[in-house]
Structures are given as structure tokens and as C-alpha cells.
Amino acid sequence: MTDLLLKAFTKEVWDIIIPAIWETVYMTIVSTTITTFFGLLFGIVLLITDKHGLHPIPLFNKVFGSIINAVLSLPSMVVIILALPIAKLIVGITYGPKACIISLTVVCIPIFSRLVENSILEVSKGKIEAAKAMGASNIDIIFKVMLPEALPTLIRNFVVLTITLISITAIAGSFGAGGLGDIAVRYGYHRFRSDILIAAVLVLLVSVNLLQLFGALLARKILKKRHLI
């Protein structure tokens, strides 16, 4: 057992792991950026078009919500496969990190949209009403009330998103996306290289925990500044 652990820290293993780390980091950063943009947009759209929202369009809200739910209810593996034609359309290929990023965002945008929606729902109705009573436009309310008030929760949910993305890159790894998940599956599972598996898992474990810690600290810092804790 100790042998195995020691082997996980040899140069041979890390020569395989380090490029995979960069692939994962690249995929995670790009897909997080895209997902954050569309997730915020869709989350806000879901929220304000709701029957009780700022700009109710109930029929559109139902249809849009159903599409989001449909993607959410499918296993991520299936969504990744379904998203491959979209990837082909946008980046021209169906394999490799770039194609993977498209699939990842398709999986994660619905998740983050709902997280954003729920974060903003936590903002008390009274604050939104107060803004309305002062003559604020919907744009004012979104950017000056909803988003700043929900910021600490949004940050926490952003961390959840990033972690979800990292774990889904592992699944996408099976489709030739590369990255740590791919290494773990190809070497660790198919070739019984437990040392590489351990190294990959360790890197994932550490990075996920660091992210979680960083997110929690940041959210806490904002709450502290606002004297809410």
C-alpha cells in the first residue's frame, strides 16, 4: 500500500498527470466562463418572466422552464452525447477539449440557471418592492438590488458549479476530451495503474477542496463586510 502511494509521486506518473491538469484547468475555466454568462442570463430570465416576476410572460416561462428541466433530468452522459452535434456545428469536431467544452456547458447551463434563480429568490420581496416603489426600472432592480443582494449566495453556488464542471469533465474524458478524469479512467481503470489513479484523484480532491474553501471564505468576507454575520 505504501509502495503504491510512493509510486503515485514518481516523475513518471506526474509526467502523465501534469499535462492532464492543464487540460482540466483549461476546460474548466473556459466552460465555467461560458456557463456563468448563460446561467446568469437564463436564471434571471426564468425569474423575471415568472407569473409573479418583474416582467411576467407565463407561457414563455413554462416552455423555457420545461426545456431547462428536460436537460436537467437527463443523465449528464446522455446530454454530452446529444450535445456532440452542437459541438460539431460550433467547433467543427466532436472530440478533444474544445468539443468537450461545448458539451460541458450544455450540461451545466441548466444547473447553474436554476442555482442562480434560487439564489435571487432568496432576496426578500420587500427589498424589490421598495425599489419598485422608488420608481426603479427592472434593469435597475436586477443590477442594483437582486444581484448585489444575492452575491454571497451566488458565489457559493458558483463554487458548486465549478466543482460540478470538474467532475463532469471526468465523464467527458471518456469521449476523448482529455483531462484528469480521462487519465483516471484510461490508466487507472482500464490498465490497472492504481498509482496514476491515486495521483489523479489526489489532484482532484485537493483542487475541489481549495475551491470550496476559497468560495466559502469569499462569501464570508462579503457577509462580514455587510455585518450580516
Binding site: A131, M134, A136, P148, E149, L151, R226, H227, L228
Partner: protein, 263 residues
């Protein structure tokens, strides 16, 4: 001849639909309020007080009737006019509804930002108004650092920032301790005198009415059962609600008195 009243509600009805069931909350409200008055509306919980006040700044749209303020008929305002109109009606709330993400300064600046004022104007106006409500020293504090009374002062500053003609108060002193309650009411009276602001005050406390208001109306199940000057109604209440209210009030003060006497 009396001057034309400033705020005029005529046959105002408001219905809500909950699960397709109809609830009539306001059942034909007729009310006139003069400019510069401090007008109290009192009633038990569920009488429709909050709905009534929310109809005045169109947070609720009335089902029928008219609400006229000055020269505006508020249910005919376009979206743009509504925004401008709302800037001229301040409102303060029981739970303050300050933004936790902004300091006192930022909160008071909010309505000015909405009104697209320049940075310099905002700076000046906020300082001036914080001085008026006596919390200039709390300018850089977050609401989380303030006491209830201070929060309500910040709320009042925010409501006054755009020089409104009317200030609506939705149970604004109900969440405060008696001392802060009095000081906030005194502040409202002071502002009324200094700025000539018309104040409509909703409350379920007769103490508040007695302390601050000139005229009042008693609301019962969506109908105004009594209106007139505060003195008249206190001396000679006609409606059951007013009688009950005054009875509870005097009972409480008598029991306090008796207790004190015995001990």
C-alpha cells in the same frame, strides 16, 4: 370653500384571485386627504390597510374606481410617467427594506441613482438629507450595524431623497421599541412641518395616531367605517372598531395605572 383635496380616492375596489377564488379586500373606499396633512389609517390586521396604501403608489392595481393625486390619475399613467410619479412618493416599511449590500449612504443614494442624478448632486443631497434625519455620522455604516430606530431613519432619508410630495408609512414604527417609536414619529412630524410633506400613516396602534396624526380613518373589512379629526374620533367614536380600539387602549393604560397604584 375648501381647497380641492390633494389625494382623492373614489369608489376604490380591489379584488385578489387566489386559486381562482375571489377575495374582495377593498370594498368601495372614498377618501380625501388634504395637502400637508398627517393622515392616519387604523384597523385590525386584515382590514386592508396595507393594500390601500399599496394602491396609492400602484404597487397594487385597483380593480375599479379612481385614485387621483394632484393632477395625476394614477391608473392612467404610462410606464414612464409611473416611474416619475413613484419618485415623488416616498414609502417607509415596517421591516425597513434597506439594501444590505449598500451602506447608509448607498441606500439613500439609490432613489437618486434611479432618478439619474449626477454624482455630485447625489453626494450633496445625501449629506443634506442624512443631516435632516440626524444620522449623518452613520453614513458609512451598513444596515447590519444599525439599531431599528437608526434603520428607520435611514429608510426615511431614502424615502425623502427625491423631494417627494407624499410620504407613505406602512406600519413603519411597529417593529421599534417605544422610545425609538416616539423619536421616529417626532421626526415625521418635524419633516411634515419643515417640508410641508403630506404623510399617510398606516398603523394598528392608536398611540401612533394620537401622537402624530391630525386626521384619521378607521378601516374595517375593506370599508371605511369612520373618518374625521383625531380629536373627534377619540372623544366620540362611532364605529365598533374605533370603540374597541379606544377601549383596548384605555384599558391598557388603566391597568398600568392601577398596577402602579396598588404597588
Amino acid at each position: 370653500m375648501l381647497p380641492p383635496s390633494f389625494i382623492e380616492l373614489k369608489d376604490v375596489y380591489k379584488k385578489f384571485y387566489i386559486y381562482n377564488k375571489e377575495f374582495e379586500v377593498l370594498k368601495g373606499i372614498n377618501l380625501e386627504i388634504q395637502k400637508g396633512d398627517i393622515f392616519g389609517i387604523v384597523g385590525f390586521s386584515g382590514a386592508g390597510k396595507s393594500t390601500l396604501i399599496r394602491c396609492i403608489n400602484r404597487l397594487e392595481i385597483i380593480s375599479s374606481g379612481t385614485i387621483r393625486i394632484g393632477k395625476y390619475e394614477i391608473n392612467k399613467l404610462s410606464k414612464k410617467e409611473l416611474s416619475l410619479y413613484r419618485q415623488k412618493i416616498g414609502i417607509i416599511f415596517q421591516h425597513f427594506n434597506l439594501l444590505d449590500s449598500r451602506t447608509v449612504f448607498g441606500n439613500v443614494a439609490f432613489p437618486l441613482e434611479v432618478a439619474k442624478k449626477s454624482k455630485k448632486e447625489i453626494q450633496e443631497r445625501v449629506s443634506e438629507i442624512l443631516e435632516l434625519v440626524d444620522i449623518a455620522d452613520k453614513k458609512d455604516f451598513y444596515p447590519g450595524q444599525l439599531s431599528g430606530g437608526q434603520k428607520q431613519r435611514a429608510g426615511i432619508a431614502r424615502a425623502l431623497a427625491n423631494n417627494p410630495d407624499i410620504l407613505l408609512s406602512d406600519e413603519a414604527t411597529s417593529a421599534l421599541d417605544p422610545v425609538s417609536q416616539l423619536s421616529v414619529l417626532d421626526l415625521l412630524k418635524d419633516i411634515n412641518k419643515k417640508l410641508g410633506l403630506t404623510i399617510i400613516l398606516i398603523t394598528h396602534s392608536l398611540d401612533v395616531i394620537r401622537h402624530a396624526c391630525n386626521n384619521m380613518a378607521v378601516l374595517e373589512n375593506g370599508i371605511i367605517v369612520e373618518k374625521g379629526s383625531v380629536k373627534e374620533i377619540f372623544v366620540n367614536p362611532k364605529s365598533d372598531t374605533a370603540k374597541v380600539f379606544i377601549k383596548i387602549n384605555t384599558d391598557l393604560s388603566i391597568s398600568k395605572y392601577v398596577e402602579g397604584d396598588v404597588i
